[in-house]
Assembly symmetry: C2
Homo-oligomer: 187 residues x 2
């Protein structure tokens, strides 16, 4: 593979139903589903971003169960996927960690379902994934990333468009689809 694509799932800063900035709770199946898709498509690391101590502890307990606990014995393939997960309190600390590991700062790509066109197409990002600059593909939980957060990213990926004006995919589904568009075989 040799790609340098990372995924970040951001729990703060995101917005709630009313547009207020919040720190969302971690959803167990966000860990499993996106880790399994990341492993399937060859993603280098999957970062859970949450500033909340209790949420960090929860994630660690789930990971311990599946990587060093009985879950890993029961289902070794699940362990292989969840071993991709790292926990960071802030997006900035994740960027620092990737910069240290890769020897250069990653470019950041944010995703959104909020209508407007981005400044990055899937075909262009697919080409970028094969190049040497590390990339962080970023998904928001709850009602999505804040406008301020999105404005600070290097790129905004075009939203996924379906059959009509309904585009309320779960973040698990959106991450799977985007990975397939970037790294799936041609068919």
């Amino acid at each position: 593979m040799g790609n340098r694509l990372y995924i970040a799932l951001v729990h703060h800063p995101v917005i709630d139903k009313n547009g207020q900035t919040i720190a969302s709770a971690v959803t167990n199946l966000d860990l499993h589903d996106i880790a399994r898709a990341s492993k399937t498509y060859g993603v280098k690391g999957y970062y859970i971003i949450t500033p909340l101590d209790d949420q960090q502890t929860l994630v660690r307990q789930i990971l311990d169960h599946w990587t060093t606990g009985v879950g890993g014995i029961y289902n070794p393939r699940r362990r292989e996927a969840l071993e991709l997960i790292r926990i960071k309190p802030t997006f900035g600390e994740m960027i620092d960690g990737i910069t240290d590991a890769e020897g250069r700062r990653p470019q950041t790509v944010v995703t959104t379902a909020r209508g407007r066109r981005g400044n990055l197409s899937y075909s262009r990002l697919r080409a970028m994934v094969g190049q040497s600059t590390p990339l962080v593909l970023t998904f928001g939980t709850a009602w999505g990333l804040t406008d301020e957060f999105m404005a600070s990213a290097d790129f905004i990926l075009d939203p996924l468009i379906g059959a009509g004006d309904y585009n309320h995919l779960s973040v698990r589904s959106a991450a799977a689809i985007v990975l397939d568009r970037l790294l799936g075989e041609s068919f």
Copy 2:
């Protein structure tokens, strides 16, 4: 849209970790995630297949909460998606129901992650979706559909291939990716 694509999520007959035929339990987020992807991509109906009375009751309770209960008021977009769900005790009864509604028997397409190539490519199925024959795209829960069940289908779709030999996607992720391949915009 005008497509006649249906999705079936089968809880029996599927196999467990050891290859034994079982009836699996319904997973709440399978309902939500696959309904939301179905609505996004214009799927005509999403069938939950389970012969177990208690599991049928559980699904009905979840649907009632989100379609006629307080959930539908809290989140109307979720209601629109979950309204696509129908419950049937057997795959055959679903086929009969679709045949009645459409005036012709649907063709059945099964999905599998168990290695071997199918007899139907994504590009060919994408062309079939636009034609007049109704189609049922079928996913298994647990460790997948039984061999006997797959052998009885009209078509076996090629498995999703990622970056290497790891292909342990959740059924929620697999359904989202397949729908995007069949009905997503070209990019």
